[in-house]
Amino acid sequence: MLEHLPILQVIVPLLAAPACLLLNKPKLAWLFACFAAVISLLISVALLNQVQQSGVISYMLGGWEAPWGIEYRIDQLSAYVLLIVSAIGTIVLFAANTGISQEIDEDKQSIFYVLYLLCMAGLLGIVATGDIFNVFVFLEISSLATYALVAFGRDRRALLAAYQYLIVGTIGASFLLMGIGLLYSLTGTLNMQDVANRLPLVSESATVYTAFVFMIVGVALKLALFPLHLWLPNTYTYAPSIVTAFLAATATKVAIYLLIRLHFSIFGDDFGGGVIQTIFIALGLTSIFVASMVAIKQPNIKRLFAYSSVAQIGYMIVGIGIGTSLGLQATLLHLFNHALMKGALFLALAAVVYRIGSTDRACFNGLAKHMPWTMAAVVVAGLSLIGVPLTVGFISKWYLVLASFQNGLWTVGLLIVIGSLIAVYYVWTLVESAYFGKADAALTSGSSPVKEAPLSLLIPLWLLVIANVYFGIDTRLPLEASASAASFLMGGEL
């Protein structure tokens, strides 16, 4: 049983999805989905444990030996990302039952859980597999599920957003597929490790560079790297809030994982002689500044945090661009930390939508009086987003700035800090209107005054909020996992 964990990680949610369809009662489907998610969370914990104790796990699908058969390969990095995806996916799923009750019609709710589990299975599959074509397959599974999930949004514009995402996502996937094809034509294999071993023999050929660029562009589209980020704000804004929380905390993280995998494991970190590093730093910094500035002006809070996500992705890209083990570790830490903070923030927004039905800035005026726990969660997660000490946000920014200083990139470090200052501004304006703004007359009076969100939403929300603080003080788990993953990747072995 234990040796089959790598495949079970993917198979459990994948098979649970159709089972949800058979259940066809929203409540039952939800319970079953939660059950499946918890099992996959437990598997990922076991995997991380196993990897940290006995090193890389290689699993041959169907017993076919590696370059011919499909290999599932769990190393430090994938175990770490698997944990993030399954943990956040599970916690968000806990909140889903209440969270979607206002946003999705009852007869479509079981389908929602089917798609949710499919999406999760796809994301987990991307991370678990060691086969580059398999990555593409799982990417499509998760993407197709995502398009449908986004289209569930109540607002009619959700359809347009889903369509936009569909187009952009397909273009991205096509680029990736072309890159994979080129690599296959060069090396004759699809196994990542095998590709990595054979690439040096054919390096310096124009085809390798083309493959590299195609794949990077494809992934950059998926992870919404500036200037390819335009699909993200619409998608996040109009998707049901639970979906946004799930996507923000997992989908972009998996795309970052893919970028790291391609950049460090397959092509090698010195591929292209450092040009790509400079590009990453430049694009990362630009996205931090541009997206943060755009975020300030957003009248819709969901869209504000969507832009802030683009900015946070910028931080992760800068970490990759710095190119040292410490920089990579900063990126990995931010992967974990950003999942926690954005998960918390979007769940809080889900609670607001549940009670008020909108996330317009005007709705937040004086909301802290009516929904104190939800707004307190926004404050803590917001502090974490800024990077205040004692929250997780501080840890990753600290490592990022330290990594740039150690590399002599003083300006980069300074710009990162200044970028956080913009986050201070937009978080602050939100907090200010929630705590000091004058409430709308409609909120306070009317037939039913706004109440605090139900516990079924608050508990998952506060689970994430507490994690934001807990891992900001007791940093051992993310620190050790990311450090071993980073040194593993930089060590050059695969």
Partner: protein, 493 residues
């Protein structure tokens, strides 16, 4: 009582939090609520006195709460300057609580429970700042103090209060994120260590230019020290109720600023290093400029609290100047000035608040002839003014004496002249208030004849508080030894 230093430090930091919880729970019973504040404030002061006994006998202690990253921990330690700061803050907490009871009740302020809760939290943050073992711990509680005082600054809830509070947060958080945090990270990158160490943490081979830049970043980053051009938060924070202005903006917050600055200069850079850096002279003249400029601005303020605010900016620059001189005399002067200015300024604010409560007057031009109505308040104002100016028989003369000595030793003649001129300016903007209070001009006097005023002083608790701090100003002149002992121990390797 045989408590270890470790135990004492933790109690001193945690007790104010207990007070905060107690205050919240007893929000229905105003008397119990205030009793909790007073009792805990007194016990904290007693505990700090115990620590004082220990440190005089060269007993110190260190506690670590948690280690966040390797080399980054939240820890606390006893040290002379810490005890000095904690002594003043805890003593004045008792007095201010007493004063606040009188003020808040007779002024019929709203949300008094919230007020006393955040007040206690702020004190906890101040104590944590005082005993920080490293710059990281200090930074955290420095920010906590900013956030915990925000509700106090905006207590009135009016548009003006919010505006002031916004400026307050913007400047304090802004400077600490733009300058302080990067400087802290830079220090860690160079020295690999943020613990306060006698003689500094930087290795000998560290580039002096880099250190010089870091020093400037620290000075600007510690916005609570109100060095120009980052001083504007102080006048705008004066929208707070007077007890807040008194304790937080004459004692706790601003003194936390100069305290942080002293800790950084003495224990992160080391006095010898600071004396040699190229930017030290620039910073010294910047403090001199701040001293003179804010005194001049103070003269033009008609609002009493605004005048006192600018006076505070000027006096804080005295402390910064003393530290940056990087001599023993300068350091003693600065340490003493933290204490002396605290007593003087808090008295002045108390008086301003008493005048507001009794007569509802805020402008200085309306206060002529007030000495007949509020003689005790006005006498207290006079004595405290003398202490700020630095004239005997008040405590302020000692600190100013040592600061002058420091400029002489280092042969900074210009700075010496600046200190002299500034004292004259202090006289010009402080003394006219009590003088006109007792001897109004002819015009006002005739008016007063028509409406003979009875003596009507501030509420009794407030009056007691004013008397205590005024006595403090006098006692510190005749009996400065305990503080002097502590000040001498600061920075001794």
């Amino acid at each position: 009582m045989n408590l270890s230093a470790e135990m004492l430090i933790q109690l001193i930091i945690l007790l104010p939090l207990v007070a905060a919880i107690g205050v919240m729970l007893s929000h229905r019973h105003a008397n119990i609520r205030e009793a909790i504040s007073l009792v805990i404030a007194t016990s904290v002061f007693i505990l700090v006195c115990l620590l004082y006994q220990q440190i005089i006998n060269a007993q110190t202690g260190i506690v670590t709460w948690t280690t966040i990253l390797p080399g980054l921990s939240i820890s606390f330690k006893t040290e002379a300057l810490s005890v000095l700061f904690a002594l003043i803050a805890s003593f004045l907490w008792i007095v201010t609580t007493l004063y606040a009871i009188g003020y808040m009740r007779s002024h019929k302020e709203q949300n008094q429970t919230r007020f006393f809760t955040f007040f206690a939290i702020s004190i906890a943050a101040v104590m944590a700042i005082a005993f920080s073992e490293n710059l990281f711990t200090l930074f955290i509680f420095y920010e906590v103090l900013t956030l915990a005082t925000y509700p106090l600054v905006t207590h009135a809830g009016t548009e003006k209060a919010k505006q002031g509070g916004r400026t307050y947060l913007r400047i304090l958080l802004g400077t600490s994120i733009v300058f302080f945090l990067p400087a802290l990270i830079g220090t860690w990158a160079i020295a690999g260590n943020l613990s306060f160490t006698a003689g500094g943490v930087f290795p000998d081979e560290a580039s002096p230019l880099l250190l010089a830049i870091l020093l400037v970043m620290f000075i600007f980053g510690i916005g609570k020290a109100a060095m120009m051009p980052f001083h504007l938060w102080l006048p705008s924070a004066m929208v707070a109720p007077t007890p807040v202005s008194a304790l937080l903006h004459a004692v706790a917050v601003v003194k936390a600023g100069v305290f942080t600055l002293m800790k950084t200069v003495v224990f992160i850079f080391g006095m010898d290093t600071v004396g040699e850096l190229v930017t030290t002279d620039f910073l010294l003249y910047l403090t001199a400029f701040t001293i003179l400029a804010s005194s001049l601005i103070a003269m033009r303020q008609d609002n009493l609290k605004a005048r006192l605010a600018y006076s505070t900016i000027s006096q804080l620059a005295y402390v910064s100047l003393g530290v940056l001189l990087a001599t023993e005399a300068g350091l003693i002067g600065s340490s003493m000035h933290i204490a002396m200015h605290a007593f003087g300024k808090i008295t002045l604010f108390f008086c301003a608040g008493a005048i507001l409560v009794v007569t509802h007057k805020t402008e200085i031009s309306q206060m002529a002839g007030l000495g007949r109505k509020m003689p005790i308040t006005m006498i207290a104002f006079l004595i405290a003014s003398l202490s700020i100016i630095g004239l005997p028989p008040t405590g302020g003369s000692w600190s100013k004496y040592y600061l002058l000595l420091g400029t002489l030793e280092t042969q900074h003649w210009v700075l010496m002249v600046v200190l002299m001129i500034s004292s004259l300016l202090n006289i010009a903007y402080l003394l006219p208030i009590p003088i006109r209070g007792f001897f109004p001009g002819k015009k006002v006097a005739t008016e007063a004849v028509h409406t003979p005023e009875k003596i009507q002083e501030a509420p009794l608790p407030a009056l007691i508080a004013i008397s205590i701090t005024t006595l403090g100003c006098l006692v510190l002149f005749f009996y400065p030894q305990p503080l002097f002992e502590l000040a001498k121990m600061v920075g001794v390797v």
